[in-house]
């Protein structure tokens, strides 16, 4: 049963890929042109967005795992697809199957959530597909180095993977659920923002999925001195990297039931491993400096 479904999806994707490439090429050219115009005429940028308030288009999610759960629902009975005209076949796809096609378009961050660039051409296949996608609003992710990008991209719910200095704005956006990944390795963290890391990124109700602070020179200090006393208890966090951050003293109590990867090497942490006991999903405890 599953094999037949997978084969059908693969078959559809194969025939779609050429079609999507054709669709994507002019869109990329359009994008490049649009970017060029943005540099020369800022006013053009505002007009290029179809919705005026990008903030309102992002729906809040209680936890990061729901991204996958929502996309992982069972699929219905497959339908025969017209391989000669994949766009025509797509407009008759049931919702769940279309979501599988979206997911199958790829992405390497989180299983079940594709990258925006990989799926954006789907929205331009035909009006029916666009309407169906607009109704479904599938989750996609986009890698960004700043938060000036619009977060509305047609029929997609875009979550951001941020790389760069974790400023107060980044923390704000992560708390709101717009930023789901922060890679701040090798940057700096002000003491004021450091005090917000636990309550707004690693605390109760936070939806951040991974936080990488490797190499941040926080100055030699205990966890409490650096990050404060708030409880580390996110139910969404999957990965935490705090290598070489100058942390000393005992490990904090980590109540992170979804955490899979924890890196804290090259600090001056002391005491026992007991604070890790509630990280029950942990798969990898430090992956640095391996010799084999």
């Amino acid at each position: 049963m599953w094999a037949a479904r997978v084969a059908m999806i693969l078959s559809t994707l194969t025939s779609l890929s050429a079609h999507l490439r054709k669709q994507a090429r002019p869109r990329r050219e359009e994008k490049l042109r649009a970017n060029h115009e943005v540099h020369t005429h800022n006013a053009v940028q505002a007009k290029s967005h179809t919705q005026s308030d990008p903030e309102s288009s992002i729906e809040e999610e209680p936890g990061g795992l729901t991204l996958v759960q929502e996309l992982g629902e069972a699929i219905n009975t497959p339908q025969r697809l017209d391989e000669q005209d994949p766009a025509a076949a797509l407009d008759t796809l049931p919702d769940d199957l279309l979501l599988h096609v979206v997911v199958a378009c790829g992405g390497e961050w989180l299983i079940g959530v594709p990258e925006l660039d990989a799926v954006s051409a789907l929205g331009s296949l035909c009006k029916d597909v666009l309407q169906q996608l607009s109704r479904l609003l599938p989750f996609v992710y986009r890698r960004v180095h700043g938060l000036t990008h619009g977060r509305t991209h047609g029929p997609w719910r875009v979550v951001l993977l941020f790389t760069g200095e974790p400023t107060a704005t980044v923390v704000d956006e992560a708390w709101r659920g717009h930023v789901r990944s922060i890679d701040a390795r090798g940057t700096t963290l002000t003491p004021a923002v450091a005090k917000r890391v636990v309550p707004e990124l690693l605390g109760v109700g936070c939806s951040l999925l991974d936080l990488k602070l490797e190499g941040l020179q926080l100055g030699i200090g205990s966890w409490r001195q650096t990050f404060g006393e708030a409880a580390v208890c996110s139910t969404a966090l999957l990965e935490l990297q705090l290598d070489d951050c100058g942390l000393s003293g005992p490990l904090p109590e980590l109540n992170l039931p979804a955490l899979q990867i924890l890196w804290m090497s090259s600090n001056q942490m002391s005491g026992g491993l007991e604070p890790l006991m509630r990280c029950t999903a942990l798969q990898e405890l430090d992956g640095r400096d391996r010799r084999v």
Binding site: S265, S270, G272, L273, M277, G287, R288, D289
Partner: protein, 103 residues
């Protein structure tokens, strides 16, 4: 957790049943390898060089998924027989172990 000043034992890790890789190299963790027994089905990588672990390799007997075992500079004793069933093993480092560790 490598290159820290951690003490205590591996016992707190025994309840982390999804753990596939442990790297606590260069700490001061003592006790035995016994807590790793409960991780046997999934444990693939053990990096515990330069700690204060004692006892034998017996707790690793059922860890058939093990691929890398690096236990240099500890105080382990006994033989390598417990690793006979570790057919996925690709690397084994036991340098500077106690002399009573027999091959």
């Amino acid at each position: 957790m490598s290159h820290n000043q951690l003490t205590g034992t591996l016992k707190p890790l025994a309840c982390l049943r999804a753990l596939r890789g442990i790297d606590c190299t260069n700490n001061s963790i003592g006790g035995t390898l016994e807590p790793l027994q409960s991780l046997a089905p999934v444990l693939r990588e053990v990096f515990l060089t330069n700690n204060k672990l004692a006892g034998s390799l017996e707790p690793l007997r059922g860890c058939t998924a093990l691929q890398d075992v690096v236990l240099d500079s500890n105080e382990l004793t006994g033989g390598l027989q417990p690793l006979q069933g570790c057919t996925a093993l690709q690397a084994l480092y036991l340098r500077r172990a106690r002399r009573s560790l027999t091959l």
